[in-house]
Symmetry: C2
Subunit: 243 residues, 2 copies
Amino acid sequence: MERSQIHRVSVADQVAGILRQKVLRGEFRPGTSLQEIPLAEELGVSRNTMREAMRILSLEGLLKRSINRGIAVAQLSLKDVHEIYHVRRVLEISAVHAAKKPAPDLLREIRAALEEYEDAVRASDWVSAVSHDLHFHSLLIRFLGNRRIESFYQKTIGELRMGMVLVDRRHDRPDILVPAHRKLYQLLTAGKRKECAAVLARHLDDSESRLSRVMDSHESARVADAAVPKSKRSVRPTARVHD
Amino acid sequence: MERSQIHRVSVADQVAGILRQKVLRGEFRPGTSLQEIPLAEELGVSRNTMREAMRILSLEGLLKRSINRGIAVAQLSLKDVHEIYHVRRVLEISAVHAAKKPAPDLLREIRAALEEYEDAVRASDWVSAVSHDLHFHSLLIRFLGNRRIESFYQKTIGELRMGMVLVDRRHDRPDILVPAHRKLYQLLTAGKRKECAAVLARHLDDSESRLSRVMDSHESARVADAAVPKSKRSVRPTARVHD
DNA sequence: AATTTGTCAAGTGTTCAACAATGTAGACGT
DNA sequence: ACGTCTACATTGTTGAACACTTGACAAATT
């Protein structure tokens, strides 16, 4: 018996976790509306608990509520992507600057993430590659040693990930970003923080414009699709939204 | 008829707003436990709505839930204060650096906040002074022009404010911090961002150590108080907590 | 034909009442 | 004083009900 924390979490939290995974893995596509009753029945919980779970996710930014009209999976706009990358720049660069004498354990973890990332790329497993890429960056944030910043970063990255699973991977080539990561790790261990920050800034700019380009083409395709009058869309793109 | 947005928000959100105010104004002291049924009846809403409202606030960090034991107003530790000031340093300094050519409207708002702050200090209205002080800093964040960062900052400041209302104002002298703010504004309008950032960093350090000192004395007083066996405490300070 | 109005079903927002699961406090015996 | 047990209080969860909005379609109007 080696459980430091007994596994006691509320059902609502568990449901929120399940939904979160489904959203982040792309099982629920952005824009699709989630209805309380069917989902609650599907997971075998009551409507109230499902509401609580959805409330959690909407506060995390993964779901958008529009009052009396229901809840839908959040849809990232280009502006959102820009904003999220701005967040990343501010936090990750601060983190790198804070890595004056980094903990060896953390550096080891970063190295591990890097290797897994490279493995995934070699195996052409893009989904896994994206995951390890983001994990690499999440580890950088740990240099700040700040729980609040970490959870904010994590939440923000979650939104980004949701936007990334959508994109058709054939349109992007994650392997190109590998050398940048290797360089980052190298500069970090060498203690060249300033240079590392500069490389990181360029890398994030590059990554952002890459994603923006892909999303832009998708966006225009989606809009063109919507122009066809027949298609009944379940969710209005310009709904008043709160939360 | 000149209502741009008809006042349509869910009851749960309104309740959350009311509770938020009460917590931030110090009507609910940190550590006090909030019970669902009495509070729900007091505001004339059902228990479920109250639960939703409390869920919102606990995700904001103002309330702490410990499963099956209830919800209590969050209590800032010295470590929390340190972490929050760390967040402030990272974000506010980034913001000042981003103020290359600041919007004139924003500068005007900052000036207004500064003057209100000074007025409050002259009137010895400490509560109002703290409020305007924090508002001044919130406006700095706007230089980043990033909704996500702003709401994160706002949430963090909320936690801090909750901790500040508790401290007996006689132990601190907010007036001392006025010149620093004036200097910040002055450097900002002069476009001396680097220097402004330096002053800001010092100011935040000063502010943190000031609050820490006051809280430390309170803390020890509180602990000593708790040592008296008779006093029935409604909430255990070391409860396992989630959310 | 185009616009307006009425109707209706579906879904959310909210309430209520109950029960189960858990934690709390006091009584009890040792 | 120390644990154990029991009764009570509170939270967690469920299920059902009702009021209101919304969106879509049909009917009525111009």
